[in-house]
Amino acid sequence: MKHFFVVFIFLLCMPLRCFSGDLFELCIIKKKGNHLPPPSSVAAVLKYLASSTSIDPSPSAVYLDKGEDISDYPFLCLTGRGALGRFTRKETALFAKHLACGGILFIDETDSYGLDDFYDSVEDFCADIFPDEKLEKIPDDDVIFRSFYLQPKVAGRNSVSPSLYGVRRDGRWVIVYSRNDIFGAWARDESGRFIYSCYPGGEAQRLEAVKLTVNIVMYSLTGTYKMDIIHKDFIERKLKSW
């Protein structure tokens, strides 16, 4: 029994330890009252990345309370609905430092209820972190839409907005914000079936959500790689072939 307890404690601590080398680790920020993505969707994302790309993700995501040390996790994820809620000055300063150092924050709005409360709160949150930058639409021809899949539609479980939003700093997107519940599109039940249907585009919309997820992760790991001149001709040729 004693040994079992020790192993249990060890397993509990495992996700909090950073992985060696430069494996991709998904770090989800927990906040009182916010809506976390379904665990099955996080697992599905990581599994897909491992099987379809050369990204080596850690097998599970890391969950950290807001205000905890995030310096080991360049890719942060914040989900929620209704409103993002207030962050203390210390917490926003921690985000600011982390994002300025090279981190990226992905914000996923899980449900909009047809209101802009969450959008407004994200806008305030971004202004708190980087007062000089603004939350803006990410252009359709941005490298984020070419980092792995070509021109995926901005889709998720919902289709609230046809655009991704973000905060650009020093030529890169440090905050990427989706209003369409991307994680919701990945969620499956125990039998492997999708939990939520995608509206209004159905399964085609889900596939676009899959592509967009991969692109966001790939963008965080490769930056402007697909803007290199060597890719330009190939990409243009492929786009013309559509």
Partner: protein, 672 residues
């Protein structure tokens, strides 16, 4: 004014008092009154010794050259002999001879001097002589003006120079004093030149040319009386290469065109280095390193990341993917030699290419290219690179066993390697743990550790491989330093920037930069400028290795980080100067500067007189150029110090005297 009026009043009173006396006494009294009112100052009788004049004769070999019927030295001695009586009347004479250094002589020995010195350091010798002389002394310099040293000097006493030998009246010359060993293509480089003119032309143009085409032109203006001017000419090397030769040309053309040009060669480094960066997978190390490289305008980056492995399944058609084929053959068999630096990050080549594809890369590195391998799970997977053609150039030996380690460690940079010497003392490294290290064996022979892990292992090592260089960093977790704080983030950037510079042999990382000429003649003075990248806390020592033996030279600090080394060269052959920077751990950096000394002696190679140099010495020392092939002693002024030769006027004493005199007269007249 009041004193003067009082004096006049007293004089009138004296006159009135003596009015009743005889005419003679009145005239005497009146004369005395006027004398006192005139208030003259009296000249003292001087007892000071006669001022010293040092007669300095150049005895270098060039003074033996014919000067009409007789030699220059004979003409100079004749001129002294002729003026000796008049000089003796005014001055106390001291006699000196000089070639490389001054010597004091008796008068009899002076007139027996022969020209035999192998070099003439005129400015240096005169500067030394002025140090021996008393305050009011002056110098009479008899020389042909051929100075084998170009250093400007400070002369504390006036030098009156007489030039001997036939001087070309319309001559202007250029001499290259210093140029850098290395420069960057497209960046400004400086050449230091010395221009001399005899007379006439007040404007010159210095051109730096490459293969006949002018790279730059500089206008040099001489002020009135100025005959020598040293200046820096800036130019921008357009092409990269080793020993790129440039010529320095002076215009307008004059009566002696052979001294209107010179040449120098330097190594010009590419302004942009071409880097091929291949990453085995997307990751934070790739992202950060790529961002760092992209931010450097001097790097032209070509990058490939393996985004999908052959085993990965993508449920979308290929035209929906932005992926391009990895051009293995083009890169490794064809284009690899075009890159100055190849970076392979966590790249397991066995998945994509055969080992023989790495042969051109190994050959490229040995012939001057550079390679950086960065660790990860895939880098030395199953000992891959240790079984490849790259194994011989790697700084590590193959590990006996082991796999990618999950161990946590802290970095400890080497204080002695140029890559890390300036960033080795960062405290933040001890609080930012890294994780993950590729397996590797012990250091290969000739390899050097750059980064150590707190676990005792070597985290990064370098090795010279033929003409090229290789660095292996065993961890791909250095990106964590970016998030560790400002200090560690700076370390990350500096470490990789320095590594790229070291690998590509960029001068940016040179601890010691040298600037000097590569060819000299016997009798010329070596002048080497040393620039240190860091203002040294360590000691700097300089050795001169001549064909006959070694000697130590004393570097003279010009400004913090800049030193000058000079030495008169008396021996022909291959010479070198070795500069050592030593610290607590022994010699930290060493650099050699090799140069050739021709058998020709500078004194016999060109015996033409250079009176412009003597004019310049006269001008700088506030003396006078006395003329050519003779001089007149009256041109050398006798120093006069007016302040010491007159007794001051004594108006107040006269006033008191007059007052007492009047009081006595009045008393005498009225108490009778």
């Amino acid at each position: 004014m009041i004193a003067d009026l009082t004096l006049v009043l007293l004089a009138v009173l004296v006159y009135l008092t003596l009015r009743s006396h005889g005419g003679f006494l009145r005239v005497v009294a009146l004369g005395l009154v006027f004398f006192l009112i005139a208030n003259p100052a009296f000249r003292k009788k001087s007892s000071a010794p006669a001022p010293v004049l040092a007669v300095c004769l150049d005895t270098s070999l060039s003074m033996d050259a014919a000067n009409g019927g007789e030699s220059r030295i004979a003409a100079a001695l004749d001129a002294v002999r002729k003026n000796l009586p008049s000089l003796r009347k005014k001055f106390k004479l001291l006699f000196y001879s000089f070639d490389t250094s001054p010597r004091m002589l008796e008068e009899s020995a002076f007139f027996k001097l022969k020209a035999s010195g192998k070099a003439s350091l005129i400015s240096k010798s005169i500067a030394e002589i002025t140090g021996f002389l008393p305050e009011d002394a002056s110098l009479l310099v008899l020389s042909d003006g051929r100075d084998t040293s170009s250093a400007a000097r400070y002369f504390s006493k006036p030098a009156y120079c007489a030039g001997f030998g036939r001087n070309c009246l319309n001559d202007m010359s250029v001499k290259i004093l210093a140029y850098p060993e290395k420069a960057f293509q497209g960046a400004v480089a400086k050449v230091r030149v010395r221009l001399e003119r005899s007379a006439g032309c007040a404007e010159a143009r210095v051109r730096i040319c490459r293969k006949g085409a002018t790279c730059c032109e500089k206008k040099v203006l001489f002020s009135e009386g100025q005959t020598v001017k040293e200046c820096d000419v800036e130019f921008i090397p357009a092409e990269a290469g080793q020993n790129v030769r440039y010529t320095v040309e002076l215009s307008p053309s004059d009566g002696k065109p052979e001294n209107n040009h010179g040449f120098f060669s330097l190594s010009v480094f590419k302004s942009k280095i071409k880097v091929m960066f291949i990453s085995g997978r997307p990751g934070w190390e790739y992202r950060n390193l790529r961002a760092l490289i992209k931010s450097d305008s001097r790097i032209d980056l070509t990058s490939f990341v393996i985004l999908r492995n052959p085993s990965d399944y993508v449920p979308f058609p290929d035209n929906k993917l932005s992926l391009i084929p990895f051009p293995v053959r083009e890169i490794f068999l064809k284009d690899i030699t075009q890159y100055d630096l190849v970076i392979l990050l966590n790249f397991d080549y066995t998945r994509f290419l055969r080992p023989d594809y790495l042969l051109p890369l190994a050959g490229h590195v040995k012939s001057g290219g550079s390679l950086m391998l960065i660790g990860g799970e895939n880098l030395f997977n199953k000992g891959s690179y240790f079984k490849s053609p790259l194994s011989a150039i790697l700084p590590f030996k193959a590990p006996l066993s082991g796999s990618f380690s999950d161990e946590e460690f802290f970095l400890e940079p080497s204080p002695s390697h140029p890559v890390t010497s300036r960033i080795s003392a960062f405290r933040g490294l001890a609080s930012t743990p890294l994780k993950g290290m590729s397996p590797a064996g012990v250091l290969a022979s000739g390899a050097q550790s750059v980064l150590a892990a707190s676990t005792g292992k070597v985290a990064a090592a370098v090795k010279n491989a033929g003409k090229g260089r290789v660095m292996v960093v065993l961890t791909n977790s250095m990106w964590r330093l970016f998030f560790g704080g400002d200090e560690t983030s700076y370390f990350y950037q500096e470490f990789f920037k320095n590594s790229f510079a070291w690998l590509t042999r960029s001068p940016l990382l040179d601890e010691i930069s040298l600037s000097g000429r590569k060819r000299y003649k016997i009798g010329e003075e070596l002048s080497l400028r040393i620039k240190l990248r860091n203002i040294p806390r360590e000691s700097i020592s300089v050795r001169h290795i001549a064909p006959s033996g070694m000697s130590y030279l004393s570097p003279v600090m010009i400004s913090p980080g800049f030193f000058n080394v000079k030495k008169l060269l008396r021996e022909s052959g291959r010479h070198s100067v070795r500069i050592f920077l030593s610290g607590e751990h022994g010699v930290r950096e060493e650099k050699e500067f090799a140069f050739d000394v021709e058998k020709t002696e500078i004194e016999t190679a060109d015996t033409s007189a250079n009176h412009s140099h003597l004019r310049e010495i006269s001008r700088l020392s506030l003396g006078k150029y006395l003329g050519t092939n003779s001089f007149v002693s009256s041109d050398i002024p006798y120093p006069e110090d007016n302040a010491g030769f007159y007794r001051p006027a004594m108006k107040n004493y006269y006033l008191i005297f007059m007052a007492l005199f009047f009081a006595w007269l009045w008393f005498k007249e009225n108490t009778r």
